[in-house]
């Protein structure tokens, strides 16, 4: 259950049995060809995979450097990569005979994905969401309710994702006998980080094959944004053994030299959060610090332990992009490619744009466009108000 020193199972004793059950079920599932067949079938016939690999011809030609490709996770059902993992975990829950799903959510994307698969599988779903986020993301809250989920506003702590996660774990502790906790990113205690990465590696598996088929070679660089890091983990994993530069992009918020950022690897220190040893944002007394990013999906004080490991062995380079840089990239890509990316994904795009300019036209960058920006239009209207006038 470790990636180098990172990972582990730092959870109350009460949950250890549940974690072991999940490990066991995963092992069984991995030995059952039927499980993978069903997982792939649902990804294809329900979520619309394989997602497209789009050559951003217009963007690339405007920049005049490397050829930029997008792996289009925004085209998934529910609009982001989150569904890959939700489908996988729902299948596992079903296999374990659990008909009740617990999920945490920040902006609501994972909550929507969890509620979605719960509806499809005829399961109950209870979603924990910070009260502050419930207010900010009322459309997603409505979506989840429409899907039949129960949304529990969390008032503890700062009433955001971190606290929703705490509350989801608390609820799980009390109801672990018949509930399955569906974590939305490569975080949490073992086996979650590994499991979620494995349910997300379809992104990289597909992208690698599509790219090879299309270009006859590997991309020079692969870029993905990192909050908890599930889209990045899924994208990077199949490329680990290749001679490909991997870049994870964290949210620098108002700047990594300010207090307002979510650049966990860049600025964080090692500690334990939500059951896992990893980098996190904390004060000198080990109290977790509330992160900041314009992007609700990157606004998390920890990071998946496997990313901490990749950083520690320098296999992946972790950089950061500010709110403003991400917003600029979002608009630039929208205007040149006709694709409104999620603000999360715009962080990866900002880095790609910055790098592409300095690369040759023979080089290429593959970016994980992890989700669509429709969910962010309200935020964009507030920040870019001028555009509407």
């Amino acid at each position: 259950g470790r990636f180098g020193q990172f990972g582990g199972k730092f959870v109350p004793e009460t949950l250890m049995n549940s974690l072991e059950e999940i490990e066991q079920a995963l092992e069984d599932a991995n030995n059952d060809e039927g499980f993978r067949t069903e997982y792939i079938r649902l990804l294809k016939q329900y979520s619309g995979r394989p997602t497209a690999l789009t050559y951003a011809d217009h963007l690339s030609s405007v920049l005049g450097g490397a050829k930029i490709y997008f792996k289009r996770e925004d085209l998934n059902h529910t609009g982001a990569h989150k569904i890959n993992n939700a489908i996988g975990q729902a299948l596992l829950a079903k296999r374990m005979g659990k008909r009740k799903i617990i999920a945490e959510t920040g902006a609501g994307q994972h909550g929507v994905a969890a509620a979605t698969v719960a509806a499809k599988f005829g399961m109950e779903c209870i979603v924990f969401m910070g009260e502050e986020d419930v207010r900010r993301q009322e459309l997603n809250v409505f979506r989840m309710k429409l899907l039949g989920a129960t949304v529990i506003p969390v008032t503890s702590g700062n009433a955001t994702l971190k606290d929703a996660t705490n509350e989801a774990i608390r609820y799980w502790v009390q109801h672990c006998e018949d509930h399955f906790y569906m974590i939305g990113s490569v975080v949490g205690p073992h086996p979650y980080p590994e499991m979620v990465r494995n349910f997300q590696r379809i992104i990289g598996d597909e992208a690698r094959e599509q790219f090879l088929t299309r270009e006859g070679q590997m991309p020079t660089t692969v870029i993905a944004c990192v909050g908890g890091g599930s889209n990045a983990a899924g994208m990077f994993y199949p490329f680990l053994a290749d001679d490909v530069e991997l870049i994870g992009v964290e949210a620098a918020g108002k700047g990594i030299d300010t207090a307002l950022h979510a650049a966990t690897i860049t600025k964080g220190t090692i500690g334990v959060i939500h059951g896992s040893l990893t980098y996190l944002l904390q004060d000198e007394n080990g109290q977790i610090i509330e992160p900041y990013s314009i992007s609700a999906g990157l606004d998390y004080p920890g990071v998946g332990p496997e990313h901490a490991y990749f950083a520690s062995v320098s296999r992946v380079q972790y950089e950061s992009v500010t709110d403003d840089e991400a917003l600029y990239a979002l608009q630039f890509v929208t205007k040149t490619e006709g694709i409104i990316p999620a603000i999360e994904s715009a962080h990866a795009l900002a880095k790609a744009i910055e790098k592409a300019k300095h690369m040759s036209t023979h080089e290429s960058i593959l970016v994980c466009l992890s989700g669509r920006g429709d969910k962010d239009v309200h935020t964009l209207m507030e920040r870019l108000g001028g555009i509407t006038s």
């Binding site: 730092f10 250890m16 049995n17 503890s156 702590g157 000198e284």
Partner: protein, 269 residues
């Protein structure tokens, strides 16, 4: 530095182990409450270190932790608070109840130095289960600090493994769940406690959800002690203003003691 002869958990009496939060409602009152609990026959005190993300705690303890944190409490200050308690006359064992991350952020050497300097007898880390606590258990043994282990009804086959080599007392989570006041004992509690008892070489104490003398009475034949946390913090929370007001403090402390007595009556009688 040399450690003095350590206090131990008494084995002949039914244990009453109260939990209070360091710095809630303030440091001075924490000491006063500890003294009161000692006076009421507490076998040991669990002193909670407030944490930003207490995922094993219910709302009452979360809120207490949050208030304490806001007033500037840290793990180091919480440990030093035990030193202050000692000076004021707290002589029963004190067990530091802290999440793992604050411990991790202290150099290991500093951590144990602080444990010794402040005469702290035990350590309980709710998010450091058996598999992850090997090193810490070993170090505690070396440092002669009781490392308190927990078992839960879901621990199942793990109970024996955990009980073997456990120190001080074995903390039995009485129901599935985080800390908090509950009205009903887990239905499988009797067989669970019997199993724990069978495997445990040390006293077993039941916690997580005890709030009444009835519960205590029900539990007495099944285990060796009870831990009472949320119920106390809830009462302290209710008395907070009175405790902080010098004019009403004594009356509030008296009320607190009466409340504690009402729960532990079955033990003392």
């Amino acid at each position: 530095m040399n450690t003095p002869l350590k206090r131990t958990i008494p084995k002949q009496q039914f244990l009453f182990i109260p939990f209070i939060m360091a710095g809630f409602p303030d440091e001075e009152i924490t000491i006063e409450l500890a003294l009161s609990l000692q006076e009421l026959g507490a076998s040991a005190i669990e002193l909670g270190v407030p944490y930003s993300d207490p995922l094993a705690d219910g709302p009452v303890i979360q809120q207490a932790a949050s208030k304490s944190l806001k007033s500037g409490m840290t793990i180091q200050r919480a440990m030093e608070l035990v030193g202050k308690m000692r000076k004021k006359g707290v002589e029963i064992p004190v067990i530091l109840f802290t999440y793992y991350n604050p411990v991790l952020q202290l150099e290991e050497k500093s951590f144990f130095a602080l444990m010794h300097q402040n005469d702290i007898d035990g350590l309980l880390i709710p998010d450091l289960p058996h598999e992850e606590s090997q090193h810490m258990r070993k170090r505690c043994k070396q440092e002669k600090i009781m490392y308190i282990s927990l078992v839960a009804p879901t621990s199942d086959t793990r109970i024996e493994q955990i009980a073997t080599g456990a120190e001080g007392f074995l903390y039995c989570v009485s129901s599935l769940g985080v800390t908090g006041v509950r009205n009903e004992l887990h239905k499988d509690i009797i067989s669970f406690l019997a199993t724990v008892k069978r495997h445990s070489p040390i006293p077993i104490a039941v916690g997580f959800g005890i709030s009444s003398d009835t519960q205590v009475k029900e539990l007495m034949p099944l285990c060796d002690g009870v831990i009472v946390g949320s119920a106390l913090l809830k009462k302290i929370g209710e008395l907070e203003d009175l405790l902080l007001n010098p004019k009403t403090k004594d009356q509030a402390v008296y009320e607190f003691k009466q409340f504690v007595l009402s729960i532990v009556t079955p033990i003392s009688s």
